[in-house]
């Protein structure tokens, strides 16, 4: 069986796929760790990090730097994005789309440009996350690796997942979370063929992180204790409430993206404008600048931030992130969501302390439960988020609290918003993943390669008797009526003609089938399959879009074979054992 959609590239030997995964993991691991270190260096150098600001001698210039650095950073980002065809940075949604539609092939150039613009965004203190860009960079490098080996689409997808897993494994020092994230968010299946290379990539990334860079755990928590068993009920409720915070956050991001083109600020200047606003606001609420690791830590300390300030920072960070992303800074959603969630959790912790009069010692548990409740719905990955928390904190107690809070979070958020911000963004770009992957795939495949020339064309004014004769001679049961200028006029079947044999001199047009569905030449397989539901004959006539000219026909046999093949490829990819 030839596969018309895979003109180039065959299925690779399994050991080669695993090797590819490991190599992708090593390269992505190195780049990811360098990327993270570069952000730290830029933050120090550009007076974004509190430590650098503290050590800076000329105190008077600090305020100026806080405003100027994000503004100028935004300008650079705006200029960089002019070199990307879509005028926007690429990110995790592009990775998901590439894999889910099997269109595959993440392009290198926008990938590199997006990585650089993310580095500038994060380095200059924009309120965006660092993990989205890393996921996209990892996926892009994986895809490039697969292309170098001339791999087929399935293996390209696996290589993308390898890059994603390695990026997460390195950035969070969390190989388990990396593997799960790649499966849960990107691949959305658990085939063994994919698992082996993805695991190899995650381990490679982890080893690189551990050996070469020797960073301490990102969010070490020394001791956490859940004092009362009833607190698990609180965590469950926090999950549902946190999902609402997450929904507000995602709506704000989409809202800012809606507002940006209506702001009358030229596209290239929008990030700079956002940077100026951000820097100015940061003079009053410094916590919104940059990744905010310090604020995240404070949120876990009882009494470090009074509740009104917690609420203020939560709202400010939410709006700042929405503005930065909406107005064109390049970056992710995850780290700001972590901070917003931790602040939300701390607020819940304070509320509980108010009621019971003292569970303050466990503030870190509430902060972490809040983190998970807000973050998991945003990225649409409850299990990966849970594992990230487990590997970040190294605390099983915290993980059980996180489990309780994540239980209801994604469900609630899916009800009020959608599966994740990625999926909603993709739907707005015309890719609906909510109906499952097969629909996305059928939507992604064009019918063009399946269209064949019409076997018998008849002039509409041909007499019925002559038409019967022609069809009989050609051994066909259907004829397509095309007038002198090539326009499609209808379809006749031999059966209908035979029924009118008595009116042999009447034009064949009289016998044309009334409701024969047609399909436009550039339609997707999904549309064709849908049209074919009412098809009673042999083939769908294919006409040019917007006109009537007959391009050819799409036989029902070819269509159903393509349909089956597409679903079969998905099945093989998703259940492939190697």
């Amino acid at each position: 069986m030839t596969d018309h959609r895979h003109p180039r590239g065959a299925e690779l030997n399994l050991s080669l796929v695993v090797t590819l995964g490991a190599v992708v993991g090593l390269v992505v691991g190195l780049l990811t760790a360098s990327f993270v270190l570069a952000i730290f260096a830029l933050n120090d150098w550009l007076l974004i990090s509190p430590r650098a600001r503290m050590m800076f001698e000329h105190r008077a210039w600090l305020a100026a730097a806080a405003v100027a650095v994000p503004t100028l950073g935004g300008l650079v980002v705006g200029l960089l994005h002019r070199f990307i065809a879509e005028g926007r940075p690429h990110g995790p949604p592009d990775v998901i789309a590439a894999v889910q539609t099997r269109q595959g092939r993440l392009p290198l150039r926008p990938g590199l440009l997006s990585a650089v613009s993310s580095l500038v965004s994060l380095g200059s203190g924009a309120s965006v996350g660092q993990y989205g860009p890393l996921v996209h960079m990892g996926g892009t490098l994986g895809s490039v690796g697969a292309r170098l080996l001339r791999a087929g689409r399935s293996d390209d997808n696996i290589a993308i997942a390898c890059g994603v897993a390695a990026a997460i494994a390195t950035a969070f020092k969390a190989p388990l979370a990396g593997i799960l994230f790649a499966h849960e968010v990107v691949l959305r299946h658990f085939a063994l063929r994919a698992f082996a290379p993805v695991a190899a990539a995650a381990i490679a990334g982890y080893v690189i992180e551990d050996l070469v860079f020797e960073r301490p755990p990102l969010f070490h928590v020394a001791a956490a204790e859940i004092v009362h068993r009833w607190e698990y009920l609180v965590f469950l409720a926090m999950g549902a409430a946190g999902a609402l915070v997450a929904a507000a956050y995602m709506r704000a991001v989409l809202g800012a993206a809606w507002l940006a083109p209506r702001s009358h600020i030229p596209r290239v200047l929008r990030p700079a404008a956002a940077g100026a606003v951000l820097g100015t606001a940061a003079l009053w609420v410094p916590d919104i600048l940059g990744i905010g690791a310090e604020t995240l830590r404070f949120a876990t300390i009882a009494g470090a931030i009074p509740p009104p300030e917690l609420a203020l920072i939560l709202v400010a960070k939410l709006l700042a992130t929405a503005m930065c992303l909406g107005f064109g800074f390049s970056g992710g959603l995850f780290s700001p969501a972590l901070l917003i969630g931790a602040l939300f959790g701390a607020l819940c912790g304070n509320a509980v302390a108010l009621v019971t009069g003292g569970v303050q010692a466990t503030m870190v548990v509430y902060a972490v439960a809040g983190m998970v409740a807000v973050t998991a719905p945003v990225i649409g990955a409850p299990m990966a988020t849970l594992l990230i928390i487990f590997e970040l904190t190294g605390s099983y107690t915290l993980t059980t609290a996180a489990l309780a809070s994540v239980a209801l979070a994604n469900l609630t958020s899916a009800r009020v918003f959608g599966r994740s911000l990625f999926d909603v963004q993709l739907r707005r770009r015309g890719l609906d993943l909510s109906a499952g992957r097969s629909r996305a795939l059928l939507q992604g495949e064009r019918i063009a390669p399946l269209v064949q020339p019409a076997p018998v064309t008849l002039a509409p004014d041909l007499p019925i008797a002559a038409a019967i004769d022609t069809l009989g001679r050609r051994g066909r049961a259907e004829g397509y009526l095309v007038d002198a200028d090539g326009s499609y006029r209808g379809t006749v079947t031999l059966a209908a003609l035979e029924a009118r044999r008595g009116q042999g001199a009447a034009p064949v047009l009289d016998a044309a089938e009334a409701e024969r569905p047609v399909v436009a030449a550039d339609s997707s397989l999904w549309v064709a399959v849908d049209q074919a539901r009412t098809l009673t004959g042999e083939a769908l006539p294919v006409v040019e879009r917007g006109g009537r000219r007959l391009v050819g026909v799409l036989s029902e046999v070819a269509l159903s074979r393509a349909h089956v093949e597409t679903l079969d490829a998905v099945r093989r990819e998703e259940h492939g054992g190697g």
Binding site: M54, F56, P216, I305
Partner: protein, 429 residues
């Protein structure tokens, strides 16, 4: 400035770390460090007269240069080593300088200095660099290296450990920098009076701030260093995050708030000798200070003091070669030799400062003099080194002045009187 600095000389490495930065930054030392005080302890009398100190080697005939010693042009060179005075110098003479001379025939002249880069910069500017090797704090080493005052040192020819572990893996993390080879780690620690807590004993930094479980007075240094770090650590902030959080107003406020919780039970000390004495006399139940000082009180006077190693604050001390040294080969040979496992081990038997080589840490045996096993007293011993705060020397270099002002105004606010008037020591009635 130099006179202030000299007052601080106290015969131990590293104690000048902050002071050097202050010199470097042109800040006023005297305000926070009155004469006689130091960021580290004053010379330890116990070490001033080592039983086997200089005299032990003076009578020895000069050893004939061995085959490994290159003596290309007649007389072996005279090496000038700048180091801190006092007991520290004594220990170095006994453990390093004299054995080196005996072994190689290379004479060593000791130049005393008070830390900082002033003299080295002056020598460099005059083109008359008389020092060959300098014993420097980590922060000074980094700065001097950047300024080109030091010669980059290769790490490849450092000898492996006796069991064959390459030097690069034998040295602890961060010990090898471009221009410096760190040789010892010293620590600022929390200690307590064993008699004060017969039942449960303090075992973590947070216990310093826990007046309920561990009631009684505490002796803290009248300076921000140490106090702020421990106060924040007591909230559960991991050691790696402490300086980042202290860089925010919120972090400083939190740290001072925790100090305020215990302020009425605090005795503020300035002289490094004070905390051990207060513990020994039973005037306080807990105290912060320098590990060598507490060790001395335990070893020499049998004081019932226990060091709580959780949250110890460590800094490294380096050997470096001046850029203008005319005896480069001899200088490098000395450093290679002085940072070998044997030499580091020997030095640690005089002073309880942690050797920077893992192999040396394992080998350190009894104290020369009392025979006390030095192992459990080293800051770098694995049991002691489980939760260590590494002093952020750069951070202190740039912020010490501001932090100190903040600390002083806080201290005034919490009204323990004017410490200067009470001679740096105020005991609550």
């Amino acid at each position: 400035m130099p006179s202030d600095g000299r007052n601080m000389v106290a015969g131990k490495p590293g104690r000048h770390a902050a002071a050097d930065h202050l010199l470097m930054c042109g800040l006023v030392l005297a305000m926070v460090l009155p004469p006689g005080s130091a960021l580290l302890a004053a010379p330890n009398p116990a070490y001033m007269h080592q039983p086997d100190a200089p005299a032990a080697a003076t009578g020895a005939p000069p050893a004939a240069p061995r085959a490994e010693v290159a003596a290309p042009t007649g007389d072996p060179p005279m090496l000038t080593i700048a180091t801190w005075g006092g007991a520290y110098e004594q220990a170095q003479r006994a453990a390093l300088f004299e054995p080196f001379t005996a072994r190689t025939g290379i004479e060593i002249r000791v130049a005393q200095y008070d830390g900082g880069l002033t003299e080295l910069r002056a020598q460099h500017a005059d083109g008359e660099v008389t020092w060959d090797v300098v014993d420097m704090t980590m922060s000074d080493t980094l700065t001097a290296c950047r300024e080109g005052l030091l010669r980059p040192l290769p790490h490849d020819d450092l000898p492996p450990s006796p069991d064959g572990t390459p030097a690069r893996r034998d040295f602890i993390a961060g010990a090898l920098t471009r221009c410096g080879i760190a040789h010892t780690a010293y620590a600022t620690v929390i200690a307590y009076d064993r008699r004060a807590f017969p039942g449960i004993r303090p075992d973590r930094v947070a216990d310093l701030f826990d007046l309920e479980r561990f009631p009684g007075r505490r002796a803290l240094q009248q300076a921000p260093f140490g106090n702020l770090e421990w106060a924040l650590h007591a909230y559960g902030v991991p050691t790696a995050d402490i300086y980042r959080l202290l860089s925010t107003r919120r972090g400083l406020r939190l740290a001072l708030a925790r100090l305020a919780d215990i302020a009425e039970q605090v005795v503020w000390w300035q002289d490094g000798a004070t905390p051990a004495r207060l513990l020994e006399q039973g005037d306080v139940v807990m105290a912060t200070g320098y590990n060598g000082r507490f060790f001395a009180a335990m070893a020499d006077r049998g004081a019932p003091i226990e060091i709580l190693w959780d949250g110890q604050i460590q800094e490294l001390e380096n050997w470096a070669v001046t850029a203008g040294s005319r005896h480069l080969d001899a200088a490098k040979r000395f450093i290679r030799w002085a940072t070998s496992t044997d030499a580091l081990t020997r030095f640690a038997r005089h002073l309880p400062y942690g050797p920077t080589r893992r192999s040396a840490s394992r080998r350190v045996s009894g104290h020369i003099g009392t025979g006390i096993d030095m192992q459990p007293h080293l800051p770098t011993h694995p049991f002691n080194d489980r939760n260590t705060i590494v002093k952020d020397v750069e951070w202190y270099a740039w912020t010490h002045d501001r932090i100190r002002r903040l600390f002083r105004s806080w201290l005034t606010e919490y009204a323990l009187g004017d410490p200067a008037l009470s001679g740096g020591l105020r005991l609550k009635p």
